[in-house]
Every structure is written in structure tokens, then in C-alpha cells.
Symmetry: D3
Subunit: 323 residues, 6 copies
Amino acid sequence: MSRFFVSQLQHNQQVDQVFLASNKQLRPNRQGNLFLQIDLSDRSGSMPCRMWNATERDYAAIENGDYVYVEGTAQLFQGSMQLIAQSIKRAEPGDVDESDFMTLQTSEVQELKERLLKTLRGIKSKPLAALVEAYLTDDVFMDKFCRAPAGIKNHHAYKGGLLDHVVNLMDVAQAVAPKYPQVDVEKLLVGVFLHDSGKVDELEYERDLAYTDEGQMIGHIVQAACLLDRKAREAEGRAQLAFPPMLLMELKHMVLSHHGHLAFGSPKLPMTLEAVVLSAIDDMDAKLASFTGLIKECPNADSRWTQYFPNIDRKLWKGVKGD
Amino acid sequence: MSRFFVSQLQHNQQVDQVFLASNKQLRPNRQGNLFLQIDLSDRSGSMPCRMWNATERDYAAIENGDYVYVEGTAQLFQGSMQLIAQSIKRAEPGDVDESDFMTLQTSEVQELKERLLKTLRGIKSKPLAALVEAYLTDDVFMDKFCRAPAGIKNHHAYKGGLLDHVVNLMDVAQAVAPKYPQVDVEKLLVGVFLHDSGKVDELEYERDLAYTDEGQMIGHIVQAACLLDRKAREAEGRAQLAFPPMLLMELKHMVLSHHGHLAFGSPKLPMTLEAVVLSAIDDMDAKLASFTGLIKECPNADSRWTQYFPNIDRKLWKGVKGD
Amino acid sequence: MSRFFVSQLQHNQQVDQVFLASNKQLRPNRQGNLFLQIDLSDRSGSMPCRMWNATERDYAAIENGDYVYVEGTAQLFQGSMQLIAQSIKRAEPGDVDESDFMTLQTSEVQELKERLLKTLRGIKSKPLAALVEAYLTDDVFMDKFCRAPAGIKNHHAYKGGLLDHVVNLMDVAQAVAPKYPQVDVEKLLVGVFLHDSGKVDELEYERDLAYTDEGQMIGHIVQAACLLDRKAREAEGRAQLAFPPMLLMELKHMVLSHHGHLAFGSPKLPMTLEAVVLSAIDDMDAKLASFTGLIKECPNADSRWTQYFPNIDRKLWKGVKGD
Amino acid sequence: MSRFFVSQLQHNQQVDQVFLASNKQLRPNRQGNLFLQIDLSDRSGSMPCRMWNATERDYAAIENGDYVYVEGTAQLFQGSMQLIAQSIKRAEPGDVDESDFMTLQTSEVQELKERLLKTLRGIKSKPLAALVEAYLTDDVFMDKFCRAPAGIKNHHAYKGGLLDHVVNLMDVAQAVAPKYPQVDVEKLLVGVFLHDSGKVDELEYERDLAYTDEGQMIGHIVQAACLLDRKAREAEGRAQLAFPPMLLMELKHMVLSHHGHLAFGSPKLPMTLEAVVLSAIDDMDAKLASFTGLIKECPNADSRWTQYFPNIDRKLWKGVKGD
Amino acid sequence: MSRFFVSQLQHNQQVDQVFLASNKQLRPNRQGNLFLQIDLSDRSGSMPCRMWNATERDYAAIENGDYVYVEGTAQLFQGSMQLIAQSIKRAEPGDVDESDFMTLQTSEVQELKERLLKTLRGIKSKPLAALVEAYLTDDVFMDKFCRAPAGIKNHHAYKGGLLDHVVNLMDVAQAVAPKYPQVDVEKLLVGVFLHDSGKVDELEYERDLAYTDEGQMIGHIVQAACLLDRKAREAEGRAQLAFPPMLLMELKHMVLSHHGHLAFGSPKLPMTLEAVVLSAIDDMDAKLASFTGLIKECPNADSRWTQYFPNIDRKLWKGVKGD
Amino acid sequence: MSRFFVSQLQHNQQVDQVFLASNKQLRPNRQGNLFLQIDLSDRSGSMPCRMWNATERDYAAIENGDYVYVEGTAQLFQGSMQLIAQSIKRAEPGDVDESDFMTLQTSEVQELKERLLKTLRGIKSKPLAALVEAYLTDDVFMDKFCRAPAGIKNHHAYKGGLLDHVVNLMDVAQAVAPKYPQVDVEKLLVGVFLHDSGKVDELEYERDLAYTDEGQMIGHIVQAACLLDRKAREAEGRAQLAFPPMLLMELKHMVLSHHGHLAFGSPKLPMTLEAVVLSAIDDMDAKLASFTGLIKECPNADSRWTQYFPNIDRKLWKGVKGD
């Protein structure tokens, strides 16, 4: 039987299939009876689910990040879809088609990775090429880089989202740079590649998306800067060269300053032209990805406006069909 | 005799040629003797000039914005070049080669204008094309649009600077838009064309660059929005169409929100995707033009850093030659 | 039978009369049964209403903005009154006494309008008088001006509220101006008249109070400024005069700067004395109207304090009876 | 011989008369010769003065705050008038006409004081009347209250300026209050009377205007609040009544909150309607007095604009003559 | 029978004992049946309690601040413990052991008070000693000082909390001061003693913790400053000395500036070295007490992090056991 | 001949001795004659110096950072001492007593270093001890650590200033920690040791104090964090242990968060108790050192106040002698 994706469910539709579970809680209702609350998702989105009259055993039988097999009914509640489950149990491996749970399919990830390699291996500067190679040939790093999300909410919050964001940003960088001959496009491309590289360790994404301890305490900006130190030393060994210290400094500066403002966690403001461009296009790409998502997921089909979002202090205009 | 440009003058060099005058003042020194202080410029830059033992008559003989013929000596003072003049008098029209005083030559302006027309006349949307035509066929507007600066200091502060800024931004918009299919590139291009159109009346640029009264009290953002109202009605007459009110609203919104923050004088935050892109690339283009200028004009040749600039709260990195 | 107003309802009181409906929603409860939630109001205030076991048909039978006939019981819930309805249906026109739903009665609006006309037609400056007349003789504008609210919440959020606010502010302006001879009282009065004139198009108030699309994207400040442009040209035609451009500029500036701060959506700070006074008394009048309302509507009769309001970052002192 | 006031002096005019001295300094020039620099003022304004080739004895012979007899020549320097003195010596008492140095003449102060008494003695509330009387019958307080300035620069910075400001504000309060019946006009009037009463001790004004030590460390807001405590106890003794504690609290709150924002040194935001009005009209009156002064004193007669003032982040519009 | 403290209750545990009641409300559920909601506490913490099917009589039978005898069952709800009560009635005096409801036991308070006295009576400066004595011998003040909390939430929010905070801060002051010989330790100790002395009147703590009217309108900072004025005059009488006005001013300044920033309600920034130290250690002590409490009370036993707290804009790290 | 220190010079005093030179400039005066301007310092302070009628040769003969032999006369100018030199030439090594130019004498640095070693070698935690040893046995690091300043202006801006600041802060940490048993004193001590360790590379201090390129682009906070990474790996090798990753993370967090606010360049807020204490005492120590210096160096001997300092937005109280 083919799957009904979360984004396709209708009010009162019967459901009998596998979801990814997260955020489980066992809670009593006002009569003191327990119910299980859990979030269910697939690659199309996520929704809350409740199972009435649950037991401690039901709660213990599944873990956040498990694939679970659910029987129940979809219901519209306060404008959003939720699931009322009759049963929830851990799925058998044979029941799961992993591609149902990936925003990016394996082939798409592969294609993005090839575009990344092609661009980076076109770099002509000897030290930059050697540095890039130190990352590209680090299988552990590259494996994580291709699976990491770019965030846990807002923009590119899915496995492979980091790669997606970086490859798109490289395209933008290559389109913009020729308009500004004073900008060194190779430095800029390496900056794009590295700017969020700390996210491979800032975030957990094997199952749930979450911040790691180190991600919360140190942050991906400083994690990426310290990693760059190590990779530059590796590049020196690999390429038999002394990595130019000014160049290393400029690259580290691009990483540190790419949030553009101290208040956004960058300990330095952009002080080179390449850092200015990186921080500008990163902000634009993140805003476009995030706003596009907010418009697309807006549940209020009748309105030309999304709801008001406090974190961006505005509503967004969805426009008129055929406009 | 060929000219020595301001940017080429050396300490103790004799000078005997025409400059553009501005900011004249007659002041007494400590002994009570009067001297004339005035700024002299050509297309390469500007410098202060002093003529000792000046009289009220010397002061009255020239106006700000005049071309003046100056004899004197260049002198390095506190790291900057200044001129000590023996005589300053109004230049004869025959002495002046206007091209020495224009950052953009007539042919360059012409070429920029042609690129502008080509891009705008490629727009396919009927109402957008009709609207654009209402501006392009307004000779008074277009004449001012091609001569206006984009600002009175910082970025693109020269005659033709507005046109230069807009054409470059159109290039950037056309390079960036294909990476974001959800962005309507024709709306974006019209937004780029119009966003600073209020500057034709916000600034005075016949002689000195300065704000007009209306520029200071109303500002180019609202001036452009009200002009757009009138041009949309013109377009309706011209093209025998009812201009779509939602489209007019979106264009006006792009103009109003293009500074990106209330604190920067935009009465609305960007609420459409095109407004987000416009405000992002406008900010990037302005920062790159301004920072590139600050680096280029930095008088401190020995340092890898510019001085600290309070308005951007940072020094800029000039880098190492051969880096 | 005479009406029980919302503000008069008691716990457990039976209700059987007409209300104005808004904000309707059909929602499932935890057992999956649907209920209808809707807000009911009259001129004394509004309250939420729920009808259990509702159907899609019940939901479709009424529209936001309809007068509805409701049978049910008032109930105190979490300190606020709500209505549990047995039936809700669209009211017959004959059942509705519109005056029950208007904060200002027709005669009060008429009286306010006459005070407005009297003040404005006392203006002696030729161009100001001609300009004012261009608004006063615009029946569409004046009809909207007399029905528009001044906001959708906080101060003067009712039909006729804009007129009420403007007439009161004119009184204050006329009381204050004589204390400051350097302030031009006629400019100030016209500024008061025009400062919120954009609200006639920023807000919808035929049924529900809401922002229009243009209100959200452009805002009443810029709407009023562009309208002023058109009206000044009308005045020129009407009065056979060239409207003094400096005067138009000053009036537009008063409109643009009347929120007093960039962060509050004014693209310019007050730079004339009349603009300073307008922004000061507008802020005072709005604060007094809003705070008086918050104190009056405070449900907590036992306390000398209102609750804490995050948007004004304070509690308000209600004082002691007989104090 | 009749006096030339500072505001009337012309370039190269000979001067031979008495001024008030302040801010004296003895400084070497580049040749190591000493000169005396000092500010000279009368009721029309102030200007800097220099005496070349001065000695330690010249410096010691006069004190800041002295009346001095000066011979010299007025000179325009960088757009402002200054005096080059041949001699400066302490004036004989007989040479001084004190009225030349007072912005307000004795009779004007007397008239203002009578208006203050009339208004305050019209208060009907028993406790408020008793409280006010405790201030009015305190001769030391009233003497200082009638001589104190309202500030050391900006608005009302002259002896009697506090009284001037308070009496004008009472007029505004009485004009505004009838428009808002919910505001208690007598509380408001007492709040106006007391709000800056701490300035009698915050400022020194016997000779130079300056902050006292306590003014700088404690501030007039808290000084006024503590004084009010003492006066309320006095009023109790005098009027044989128990001063209502809630009323005392509300008055003290008006004093504490009258700057309107924590960032402006008010430890509390206005939480009563009277406190809202007091803080609004005080701000308006101060801005109007200050901006009017900046416009009037603007030395640049050719411009329709004042210079840019960083502390108010704007230029001011002076307008067109005959406008 | 020995007591089960709030912090010790387990899911489904039967309860049959006395609590302190606060925050009572009578509310209808969706079926229109009333229930009683109330907070129950003892010295270990507090929890919400609900009694279904309550009546107006149940509601009226108890007051906030009463000791109540409760029968019911503890239940975990949304990660927090709550009580479902079968009956709630006012406790008999004989049922109450007051020590169960005090964070600090009588003997602990006594010991803290003795440490306070010992430190303060070791002060050698004559005027400081006399001033301190004016407080210490004021039995009403000292009684309140030893019972007042330091706040109504966050740090030291329990009876005796003010004393606890002050004595600990004196220890810190005495430890830190010797590292900075330029700091006058006796001034600093008196500043510590007085800085929060206004809290004896800012807060109510006989039963519930709450702000008094005066606390909300005036605030403890100004209350303490005005009290200090009176005590200094008392000290003068008592010790037959003229209290040095500069010293009084410095002490008052320490009180006024101890919040360290205008935005935190201090009308002055610290301008003396002692004021700098006081504000620094007060902030550190408050943060440590508050953060330690947030970590200790974190209900989420499985996580190494507390939840995110918006008021401090961060999560806190609880660490790893055995770390 | 014994030396006159900069801080001891009197007006008109003859000078004939060695100074440290910095900030040299060759400038023309108004007559076009060149003069040399340079700053001269010794351990007591610094002052500007001018030599009239200088030549390019004079300018080229000395370098910033040289010891120079100067003949000239001290002169008070605008309240500050300056030197008018007759001759300036490079000093012979034999003429220089280096101890005249060091705020801290060699023996004082040695003593501070021993206190540092004693405290750090008392640490009992195995991994912390191993980590500390990796720094202490790094001679290059320790040599720089003992010579580095803590800043280039404000607090501890002299060679050895970093060591001085750290050792004093360790004393404070050890005094404060026992008052808070929940704080781990050993973690805190290591945090104090490491928090500014990046300053050894952020600043240049062989001759002039200045920021290095890397200091400006990366900053000492991130430099210290990356260094810590390397030292932890060294400690693992040295001590044959796996450095606990949580502990490394907490230490790195203390370094990153020690400025306490994002706006001050910390990319993370303090989230552990030790980080809270470190950032509080570091701020207090820096403020006390800086304010004490501002008070001590205040040239205005007659006033009880320093001047107003914009960067701290206040004047400081110097107090009354004998107070």
C-alpha cells in the first residue's frame, strides 16, 4: 500500500503506517488517566499525536528517534492536523522505507556532493586547494558534512540541509563575485564551504535533530574556527608547504564574522570584502529559505497573509493566486 | 598643459590649474588676519586649500560650485595633502575641461543608460512594462536620473552615481534571481529601478552635492513612493489598462522597505520575497562600494589596516601586497 | 424586551438576543466531537462563545461580521465571562437595533463632525483653507473619515473612533498652542486633521475591524502622505492658487514624523515645532485613552492594580475608591 | 553709556564694559607665551575671550563668577564672535547693573511667583493645600525656587528658569486637563510644582551654573522625593491632619516617573494618569524651549536649517521668512 | 505522623496533612462544573492543587495565606507534580508546625542576625557606627529586616532571605576588599547593609510574598534612600555629631546605584569605587543564588541541561554526575 | 644624575635624559615649516613632545619603540604637560636603565610568577593539573605570558600587566569561592589562568603596545579557545590520560563567555556557575583597575570630580582629602 504523507492527511482519514517518533511524553488528563503524547513525522512534515489511556509500558516501549507503526485517525484541531492513535508500536525494519523520511533522496545528496567537489577542486590557489583537500579527503568529516542539517528549525532543517545550503550559496557566490572584481572569488568559495562546517559537531542528526552539548556551550562558529586550525596544519603536511598565515587568518575571520553582528554571536564584524559578501549572501539565502518555508506551510488557506511571527516581527505576504 | 589630479599631487608640488570649489569660508587667524579656506576637487578626489591674507573681496569673488583657477603649492599636513594658494579666481569657461571633473565620462553614462534601457525594455509583464515606460519616456525624470548621485558621501557620491548603482544592482539581481525560482525576477528588476528613484529630488547635484529641503524633511523613500503613485496612473492612461492594485502595492512596498530596518528609515520591514532580495543586495552593494572606497583612499600606506571608522564601528583590512 | 449588554452579564444568566459575530472557528474537542467557537460583541464589549456538538453546517451558516441571534447561558471562566450557546443563527434585519452596536451614536458622530467642520473652516490661511476644503468636500473621504476607527485595538478602536480622536486632539491643540506663541496654530490644526487620515484606507471597518492589505504593506503614514500630494493638487485647481511648496512639505513632514521615533514607523523625526507638538499630544492622547480603557476594563475588582501588561511594561494604578 | 550686549556685537567693534566671567584658563601658545582664555557673558548670551601675553597674576586676579571690566575688540572666528582683550580686571560694584545679567528681570520673577501662588492657593483638597503651604511658607526653599535655573544647558538655563518652566507648565496643565475628565487636575498641578523641586539643590547658581556634588551623585529626582517626605510630615503638623499615605505615594510617584523612561533616569515608569500627563507635557515643554532656542541662536543666517545636533539626532527647520 | 514535604512527593502518593495556601481561584470546567484551584506550599517548595466539584462555600472557607488541611493524591502532570484534593479545610492551630514552612529555622535566623551585629558593631568610623546603630536599635526595623525576603521570585524569595543575602554579601565584601586597598571596607559594609533595606517596606511577607503598593510605585531603591536620610538625622541626635554630608551622600549613592544600570532601575551609575564593588558582588550573588536554584529545581532529571529561560536568555548546564 | 619621571615634571623644567619614543610624525606648521611630533614615556606615564624646525633626517633617525635622548623644556599646555625639545637622538645602550621604563620591576614579575605557579601547582584534579602543566612547561608561552600587557589602554596596559591581572584575580577567586560551595574552585582557577591567555598573541609588546593583525581579526577570546584545544591534546600525551571532553568543553566555555555579553564580543553567555563567577570578578577587577587609574591620573587637582568619560558614560568621584 502506498503511503499517505503527513502533509497530505485529511480530517477523519484513517492511518495505518510507519512514522518517525520524537518528543514522547506520558501525561495524565484531568481525570487522572494517562495519555501518550508524541510527535510523528516523515519527509513531508510533522504533527502531534495522542494516544488516550496509555500505560507506562506503552511509554517505555518506544524511544525518540524510533520508527513506529501507528494506527489511528487524523483530526483537525485548532487549525492544525493531529493524529489520535489507537496503537503505536516499534516498526519492524522491513516495514520502513527510509526514503520516505528523507527530505533529500540519496541520489540528490550524491549530486549535491558532486557539485561541491567540482567547484572546490576547480580552485587554483595552491594553499587554498591544499586546505580544501584536507577536508574533502577526511571521510569522517565529509560523511557528516553530507548528512548534517543546517539548523534545527527555520531554514534547511533536514539531513543534508547543510550540504544543500552550502552548494546553493556557492552558486550565488559565483554569480555575484564577477560583479565585484575587487572580491577574491576563491577565498569567498572556501569561506562559503567552511562557514558552517562547525555544524557537523554542533548538531545531532542521527535520529532527532538537536544541539549537542558542545554545540550549546561552544557553538559552531568557534568549533569551525578551531577545526580550521587543525586542517591548515594537515594541509601543510600534505602539500609540503607553509600555509600563509595571513590567508589562514582571513579564512578564520570569514568564519568568525559570518553572522554579521556581535548580537548574533559573531565575535568579530566583517572586516574584509570577502567576509562582507559571505555574511550578506548567507543572510539572504537563510531568509529566503526560511520565509519560503513559512509561506508554504501556512495552514490558513483563505488568507493572503501568513500569521504574525514574533521572531521576525512581521507577517509575510503570500500574494494572490494568478498574480 | 596636462593636468595634475588631486590624487596625484606630491608634497611641495607647484600647482597652476582649474579646480571645482566648495565650502568656502573667510576666517581670522590668531593675529586677527583673515584667510580664505575652501575645498578644491576634481574627479580624482578633493583637498582643503588655504589662502593667507585674504580679503572680503577675495571671498565674495567666488561661489561654491564655481570652477576656479588656482596658483599655489601642495603641502602634506597631518598625513593629508592640502594646498596653500597664492591666488584663487573664477575660471574662464574656456579654461575648463568638464571631463576632468566627472567621475563618469559622458560616454560611460551613455553606455550605462543603454544597459538600463535594454534590461527594462526586456520586461514581459504588460503592467510592469507600461509602468517602466512611464518613467523612461519622462525626459525630465530620466535626465535627472542619469545625473543624480546615489548619496552625498559614502557610496556612489558622484554625478551619475545613482545610475551606476542601479545598473550594477540589476546585474546582481539577474545573477542571483535564477538561484531562487520562487522570486519573481521582473518585479525585482522594477524594484531595483525604483528603489532610489526619490533621490533625483532628495539631492542637489547641479554644483555641490547636498540634500534638498524636501530631501531632508520627507526623504527619498517616501518621495519615490508618492512618485510611483503618479506614474502608475500615467501608465494606466498610456497603456489603456487598469494597473493591478496588488502589484502596485507590492512595488511600493519594495521601495518603502528597502532599507531593511525601521531604524534605518524604512517604515515597513520586507514582507515579500522580492523585497527581501532587494534590501539584501542593495545593502551588500552599498557596503562593498563604500568599503572599497575607504580602503582605496586610505592615506596610511604603511599599514595593512585602515584607520578605525566610528560609523561602521571597525577598521578594514587592506591586506598584504602580493597576497 | 430590553437588551442585556455584554458588560452587564452575570454568571449563569440566560441570554436570548442579537450579537455581532467575529472570529468563528470549528474545532474538535478531545473526544473528537466538534464545537463552534466565536466572539460575540455589542457596543459595551465582547466575549468568547462556545456551542458544543456543532456541525459543519452550523459553521457555514454564519459569517464573521454577521448579526446573530443567540440562545445560551453566561458563565464565568478564568475570571472572564463567556457564553455557552444552545443555538446561534443569523439574525433577521428586523431583530437588529444598530445603535446597540455602535460606541458612538449617530447623533454623537454628527456632533463631532460639526465641531470638526467649525474648527477647520475657521482657518484663515488661504492655502490651508483651500487644502482643507479639498478633503471636506470629498464625500467619499469624509464618509470614511467619520466611520473609521483609530486602531484595531488599544485606543479608539470603534467606528467613529478616528473622528473622536481627531476632534479631541484639536481641542488639546487649541488649548496648548496659545502657551507657545512660536507655534503656528493653523498648521498644527491641519496637521492634527491629516496625521491619521491614511487610516481610512489602512483599516477595514465595515464589519470586523482589521488591517487592509495595503494597510499592512504600506501603512497609514505613507498612505496619508501620498493622499496629501493629490489633495494639494486638487486645492490648486479649486482655489486658483499655487500651493506653496514649503508649506506642503511641512504638512507632509508632520504626517510622516507624528509617531515621533523611527522605531515606531516614522521615517523622519520631528524637525519643526508644529511636528514636535503634534507628536507629543498625539502620544499623550493615545496613552490616556488606552490606559483609561485598561483601568476601566480590568476584571479584577478587588485589586488596586491592573494586571501587568507586557506591551507597556507596567501595571497601572487604579487607586482607592473615595480617594 | 549704554551697553552693547553680547548678541549685538559686530566684527571689529571696540568694547569697554562689564561682563560676567567664567571658565578661566591660563595657557601657553606654541611659542611658549601664556595667554588667558575666559568666557564672558551677559543676559543676551556668552562668547569666548582671549588676552594674549597674560601672566599668572592676571589669571589670579579674577575668579569665575566675577563681574569683570574688559577692554578689547570683537572678532568673528570660525563663524562665532569672540573677544580679543587688551585688559581684564575685576569690576567695581558701582560699575555693575545687575539687570544686564539676568534673563528675567526682578519684576518678571515677581510676577511669575504671584501667578504660581495664585494657582497653588486655589487648590481645594485639604491635604494638597496643606502640603503646598509647607513649601510656600518655607522662605529658604521659595527663595531658591525663584532663583534656580531649570538646567545648566538646553532649556531654561538661567536664574529664574525653573520658576518660568513650572509656571508655564501649570498653564499647559490647566489647559489640557479639562479635555480629560479622568485626570485629577489638582494632583497634576501639585505634581507640576514638585517635579523639578530637587533642582534647587541639584544645581549651583549663585554665580556659575553647575551641578552640585549631591546633584551629580543623587540627582534632583531622588532629592525631590526625599524632600517631599519631609514636607508631608510638616504639613501634618501644620494642618493637624494625617496626610493620606496613598496620596503621598502618588505624588512621590509623579516626581520619580516624570522623565518617562528608565534610560532617562526615572526609576519608575508612569503608572497613574496624572503621571502620564506630567511626563508628556514636561517633555513637550522642554523640547519646545530647547528647539526654539537652537533655532534662535543658529549663527548660520543664510540657511533654512540649523546645523545637525548629535544629541537630538537631527537638524531643525528654521523655515522661510514670510512663510 | 511525620510530614511528606512537597519536594518529596511521588506520583500517586496519598496526602493527608497541612500546607500553606495561596492564589485560590474558583473556576468552571467545560461542562460548567466548578473546581477550586489553589497553590500549596511548605518550606521545600510549592505545587498546584485542584479540587473538582467545588462550591462557592469551599472557596469562601479559606483565605490566601491560611494553613489548610488537605486530603488528596499527588499526580505527575506535564512533568510537574500536582495535587488532586478530596477535601481542603482551614487547619487548626494545633495541627501546624510552623517550622515546616520556614526555609530558615528560627535558630538559623538568630545566628545570621548575630553575624550581622558582630560585623556591623566592629565598624570603627564614628559616624558610620552611629548611623548603623540607628538602624540596629530600631526594633521595628530590625524585626522586619530579619523576616523580609530579598525578592518575590528568583533569588532569596523566603522569609529571612534578605538577612541571608546581606550576611553572605558581607562575607564576600570582607573577602574581596583586602585585594583592593583603594576600597574603603567600612563604607562598603554599610552599603551592603543598606542597599536592599527598602525591601522591608517594598514587600509584604506576613503571609503571601507580594509587592506593597508603595513597593510598586516607589521601589525599594528610593525607599531606602529616603529612610537613610531619616536615620542619618537620628544618628546625629544620638551621637551628638554632625553627620558628614559627603559621607551621607556617598552612602545614598551606593544605595541608588547598586542595580548598576539605568535600565535596571538605578537612577545613577556607580561613580565611587565602593559603589562599583557593591553593584558587582550584589549582581554575582544574586545570579549565583538564582542559577543554583534553577538547576536544583529542574524537573528534567534525564537532561544535562535545564530548559531555556527567556528572562536570562539561556539554558544552564547541570553537568554530569561524578564530573 | 637621577631621573625626573614624566609624572613629576613641572612647568618650565629643563629636561636632559632618556625616554621611550612612540607615535612619531613629521608635520608642517602653517608657515610650511616642518616639526617633529612624538610621544615620550617612562614607567610613570607619557606625554607629547614637539621639536620645531625638524628635518626629514631627524624623522628618519629614530624609530617608534627606540630609547631616545632628549634635551628640552616641559610646558603646561591645555592642562597637560608636554615637552618642547631642542634635540632628540637615539640613546646609547649604556644610557638606558631599563627599570625606569617598566611598571613592574623584574623582581616583582618574578614574585608574581611564583605566586601563579604556587597556586596552579596546588590543583589536585589530575586532568586539570596535567593541562595546566602543559602551559607552565611551555617556555615560549610562559615567557610571553609574563611580559604581555592585559590591554593597550585602560586597565593593566603595561608589560607584565596580564600576569598582574591574573594573579590578582586568582586571589579574588580564592577569596570568593569558599562563600559559594556549589562553585568548583579548581575549575574557576584554571578559568582565571586561561581566560586572557589569547592576549599573548593578540597584542604586540616588544616595543609599542598594539594589536597584532591576528588580534584584530580573530581576537584573544577565540585565540585562547583554539590554543586550549592544542594544550589539552598535549596534556593527554604528557599525562597518559584521556582528557574528559566535558571538562574541556566547560573550560573552553569559560574562556568564550568571560566578557559576559554578546555585545562585548563573547559568542556565548555564561551557562555554568564557574563561568558566571569568572565573568563577574573579571569585570569588577577591570573596572576597579581602570577607574582607580582614571582618578589617579586626573589632572584637575582642584575638583572633587574627574572629567566626564564618554566610554563609561559618567564622571568619577575623587572625594575629599581627609574624608
